[in-house]
């Protein structure tokens, strides 16, 4: 397009047609004050502070909403402009309360800045503040709307960015304010407490409830959120070496832009709790007592080496962390494989679902090519399955809601219950639990019958379509309709929406942790291949990794059966590659998963376990079994930031630094590798995990090696091609292709279709007639160890209520708020009941992560994604009312 030329303040500049005067000025380094404008929001021209003057006509106009035109001549700072601006600010200040001086927005208040720049001190107007009570009943957000300047940024943030719709202007004129429906407190509205509106408010009208600090922090530094697989970029404000507040980073090109979710914004409270470990501990005379690093590390090194000597390397196990950095996980597994000579390494993210993804990724030569979240917003069609990202990975939820709301992208949501995305869906498929694979096969079969497949793609990148299409032709749609409980018309409608399009699949823990998870993943991959929906970063399969470095930990080889770069341990060529690099012999044994390690510990075969940054005694099913297994060990090391249930059993406890206290990198679910620096120093004597591991390696016989961060990063770049762009300085890079699809025409292998089979019949048990489904909520992550230590999160909700349908509640004589016992063959939990009108009967939803994550005690200890595993998602239960006198 032809550029437009104009002059601003006498300077000739050029601009893109359609851009605003403000944008053109900013791009050319000319500053115009703004208040209601924000680069991530639609411009509305509400505050008029950005006024400029048209030299020719003398017209005054708001530069943020006026587009440039050819030969325009603009003055941004003429006396007239200044006079108008000053008047606007004076009016705003006159409407402002005196509490301005002690406002927590402090010197970050944009109104104050603008006023100061214009030299507005005393307004000279009769002050007429509009007092409204302070609203601070919830622990997250304080609203002091007397300080509101009606810029509407909060409303646009709420509607445009996070697409919640909790607040809007109400009333008009002097009394107009952003408010919820019926002006109720936020906690009675749809508000999710993502805090995005607070981050974007230019004044102190919205501020965060901060029990620990009021005012502007001394220092702000960028880092990455410690919770889910989105990996939002944050800035953390700190005072005296303590993190006191969190906001979305101001950088461009971040995954989250200006948004965050309630966890990212508020749950980082755990960084400063008294449960933080600050010194190494050694068990002496049955008690854990403080020791020195020297003593602790020597003890660990001696014990591990001597157990290895007596019982062999297979008696050792190492459990790494999907919350630790890439560099740490790399070194961790390297110590395991090359120094301790065992392949018994796993990580929490792998146990919690990613192993299911892995089982299927092998068809693609290692990994499913990551697709970018931003591509969701202009996808052709989206299929969400086994996922409610509005709870689990809220920022992914924002992407999906924006795609649907703003761009009209059709979105099919397959979920037994009306989850948070359903109101935005073009079609809701309320299928029966664990029948997802039948549904996917059925959709493929319908598309096949309509000849809606991508023959060129199939030809070029795949093999085995012949057999697969026979399966599709013979597929029994009637049976699929019965098993999924979906009428065939509904499935046809879904096929209508998918037909002829590239599909973006969004897959969550509902698939990854279920009994038929692997089968479903295979079915999805087949459908993706058949429709040519894989391989160009624009669509594809989005796996909702629940932990912030689940993907990175896998890429670094911190998982049983996998070497770094996702090569199989059992693949001799891959092994040789790593043998050359590390200068050791590698065992061809694939190694044990953490679940198998527990079983081997029970049998007495596993003697020592090293746990880094995970808390299996809270995260695992059948906790008592795990506890006994751990007690059976000769030696247990726990390296963590918090004193937790697992640490309480350990022989040695090492205090690690939290992510905000160290440098490293995390890889998010779209393959974005983010390198970051520390925000504050580690607490007490705690050390970054990398440093601890390096010192341990030194003691275990690798004194000649330098395992510094720089060295490890250099090694990763050199030996894991997908990470060749990993950065030393803070910032992002991308995982480059690891699978076959990218290069299928050159050296990549064609991808196999797999045969079709119906999902196994539902497991029925008359004693436990209901189906319990374990769900996560946005307030907590994982087992809730960290979020559960956040005072603001726990202060907000006791929560954890189980949800039942009207029918079941009536049958069981239950009303809202009744206490019930939910029990399965494996355990029981006591919770309050909430009766939901949209739930299908026969299902009970039980939130995990509350009360020590006891909900996990309802399921059996097996490895999800393995043939025989019933999964960790769902279990037959019964529900009984607890009478008052029993309590």
């Amino acid at each position: 397009m032809e550029e437009i030329t104009l002059t601003i303040n006498g300077k000739k500049i050029s601009a893109r047609p359609g851009s605003s005067i403000l944008d053109a000025a900013t791009e050319n380094g000319i500053k115009i004050p703004t208040l209601c404008h924000h680069r991530h929001l639609t411009p509305v021209g509400a505050c008029r502070i950005c006024l400029v003057e048209d030299e020719k006509s003398g017209r005054i106009m708001a530069s943020c909403v006026t587009p440039v035109s050819q030969d325009m001549a603009i003055r941004t700072d003429s006396p007239t402009v200044r006079r108008h601006r000053t008047n606007i600010v004076r009016l705003m200040m006159a409407n402002h309360p005196e509490s301005c001086i002690v406002c927590s927005r402090g010197n970050k208040c944009e109104l104050r800045q603008v006023a100061a720049d214009l030299g507005v001190g005393i307004t000279g107007l009769y002050p007429m503040p509009y007092y409204r009570g302070l609203e601070q009943a919830n622990p997250f957000i304080i609203r002091d709307l007397s300080k509101c300047i009606l810029c509407g940024r909060c409303i646009r943030a709420d509607h445009e960015l996070v697409v919640v719709g909790a607040i809007d202007y109400n009333l008009r004129g002097f009394r107009s304010r952003p408010a919820t429906a019926h002006d109720m407190p936020l906690e009675k509205s749809e508000c999710t407490f993502c805090g995005t509106c607070v981050s974007l408010c230019p004044t102190g009208a919205l501020s965060i409830g901060n029990p620990r600090y009021v005012g502007s922090p001394e220092k702000e530094s960028a880092t990455v959120c410690g919770f889910c697989g989105v990996g939002c970029t944050l800035v953390m404000g700190s005072v005296d070496g303590q993190v006191v507040e969190t906001n979305p980073s101001h950088e461009d090109e971040t995954v989250n832009q200006s948004t965050l979710c309630v966890r990212g914004h508020f749950a980082h409270d755990f960084l400063n709790v008294k449960e933080r470990l600050t010194r190494p501990l050694i068990r002496k005379g049955g008690e854990l007592s403080p020791s020195t690093w020297e003593e602790a590390l020597n003890l660990i090194s001696e014990r591990l080496l001597s157990i290895k000597k007596t019982h062999g390397p297979q008696s050792l196990g190492l459990y790494g962390s999907s919350k630790c950095t890439n560099e740490e996980n790399y070194l961790f597994q390297r110590i395991a494989r090359s120094l301790l000579e065992t392949n018994n390494v796993d990580n929490g993210g792998n146990v919690n679902g990613l192993s299911t993804m892995n089982a299927v990724a092998q068809r693609l030569g290692g990994s499913i090519p990551p697709a970018r979240l931003s591509a969701l917003e202009d996808a052709e069609v989206i299929l969400v399955i086994g996922a409610d990202p509005t709870q689990s990975l809220p920022v992914v939820g924002y992407f999906l809601k924006r795609a649907s709301r703003n761009n009209g992208v059709p979105m099919i949501v397959a979920d037994p219950r009306k989850n948070g995305l359903v109101p935005f869906a073009s079609l809701w498929l309320p299928l029966s639990p664990q029948t997802d694979s039948d549904l996917i096969h059925a959709l493929a079969a319908i598309l096949y019958k309509r000849e809606a497949f991508d023959a060129r793609y199939i030809d070029r990148f795949t093999q085995g379509f012949d057999l697969y299409q026979k399966g599709l032709a013979a597929f029994d749609l009637g049976r699929a309709s019965r098993s999924t409980g979906l009428e065939s018309g509904l499935m046809e409608e879904a096929a209508d929406q998918l037909q002829g399009k590239k599909i973006a699949f969004v897959v969550g823990q509902g698939v990854l942790l279920q009994r038929n998870g692997v089968q479903t993943m295979h079915a999805l991959l087949n459908l993706a291949l058949m429709t040519g929906s894989l391989g160009d970063q624009k669509r594809g399969i989005y796996i909702l990794a629940s932990e912030n470095n689940g993907i990175g930990a896998l890429d670094m080889g911190c998982a049983p059966g996998f070497l770094p770069g996702r090569g199989l341990v059992t693949d001799e060529a891959r092994r040789e590659y790593w043998e050359r690099i590390w200068g050791v012999r590698l065992s061809p044994d694939p190694g044990l998963s953490m679940v198998r390690m527990v079983e081997e510990a029970e049998k007495g075969n596993l003697k020592a376990l090293y746990v880094m940054g995970e808390n299996p005694l809270r995260g695992f099913p059948e906790i008592e079994r795990v506890r006994r297994a751990f007690q059976n060990l000769e030696f247990l090391v726990v390296q963590d930031i918090l004193s937790n249930e697992t640490g309480a059993l350990a022989d040695v406890v090492l205090p690690g630094a939290a992510f905000s206290e160290k440098a490293g990198s995390f890889t998010n679910l779209e393959g974005r590798i983010q390198s970051f620096e520390s925000v504050v120093l580690p607490q007490g004597e705690a050390k970054p995990d990398l440093e601890i591991l390096a010192q341990l390696a030194y003691r275990m016989g690798q004194a000649d090696q330098d395992f510094s961060l720089l060295k490890i990063r250099r090694e990763i770049r050199r030996v894991i091609p997908a990470y060749s762009e990993l950065r030393d300085d803070p910032g992002q890079s991308w995982v480059t292709e690891m699978g076959d699809l990218g290069q299928a025409d050159e050296e990549g292998h064609p991808v196999e279709f797999t045969p079709i089979a119906f999902a196994a019949d539902r497991l029925r048990d008359d004693t436990y007639p209901l189906e319990g489904i374990l769900t996560s909520t946005r307030l907590h992550l994982g087992s809730g160890t960290r979020t559960g230590l956040s005072a603001r999160i726990t202060g907000f909700s006791q929560g954890g209520d189980v949800e039942l349908s009207f029918e079941d509640a009536a049958r069981l004589d239950l009303v809202n708020g009744d206490q019930v016992r939910v029990s399965s063959k494996y355990g029981a939990v006591a919770r309050r009941v909430r009766v939901k009108k949209d739930l299908p009967f026969g299902l009970v939803y039980i939130p995990v992560a509350f009360y020590g994550n006891e909900a996990r005690q309802l399921v059996a200890l097996t490895q999800p994604g393995k043939e025989e595993s019933p999964g960790w998602m769902q279990v037959s239960v019964k529900v009984e009312k607890i009478e008052n006198n029993e309590q």
Partner: protein, 175 residues
């Protein structure tokens, strides 16, 4: 919903069935709100939500639109409806002071209803008896030349009435 001005089941059913007559487009929001107000005298929180759901809008948006116009009420009319005239004559004679007295006495503002739904206050324009200004109308009875002391008396009267009523009820029950 745990709101003091929740609508009853019957109202909600009526709204649900009426809603189906309206096409799903945003421009229908005002006609729908008018329909509800006409049939049920006010817009209950549930009603707002139903409208939002029907039109695929957020509840706060619907509420925002509704509060923009003076014609909508969000609280049901009280058992005793107080209307204070603020027409020109009444205004000149201090009608606003009378309004303020009612508001202060009952702890609500004009357009609102007391939580026990006993009283609601509204302002009206000239009711045609300017000679009596300032004027207030309570339950169809017109009171002229209202003074602050009269406000006290009026409300007190209703309260005594209510107390008597309750005592009578109690007596009947114990008999």
């Amino acid at each position: 919903m745990d709101h003091e001005f929740s609508a009853d089941e019957e109202t909600l059913k009526d709204i649900a069935s009426e809603l189906t007559r309206f096409e799903i487009k945003r421009s229908n929001v005002i006609p729908i709100l008018q329909m509800i107000q006409e049939r049920h005298a006010y817009l209950a929180p549930e009603a707002i939500r139903m409208v939002a759901e029907h039109l695929g809008m957020a509840a706060c948006e619907v509420y925002g639109v509704a509060t923009f116009y003076n014609q909508f009420r969000f609280q049901p009319p009280g058992k005793h409806q107080i209307k204070v005239c603020l027409g020109t004559a009444c205004h000149v004679k201090g009608g606003d002071i009378i309004l303020e007295n009612f508001e202060r006495k009952l702890g609500i503002s004009e357009g609102q209803t007391t939580p026990d739904r006993e009283f609601s206050i509204d302002r009206v324009a000239c009711v045609g008896c300017c000679a009596l200004a300032p004027v207030a109308i309570v339950d169809e009875t017109v009171y002229g030349k209202v003074a602050p002391s009269k406000v006290e008396g009026l409300i007190l009267g209703f309260e005594i009435e209510k107390e008597k009523e309750e005592r009578r009820k109690q007596r009947d029950e114990s008999n």
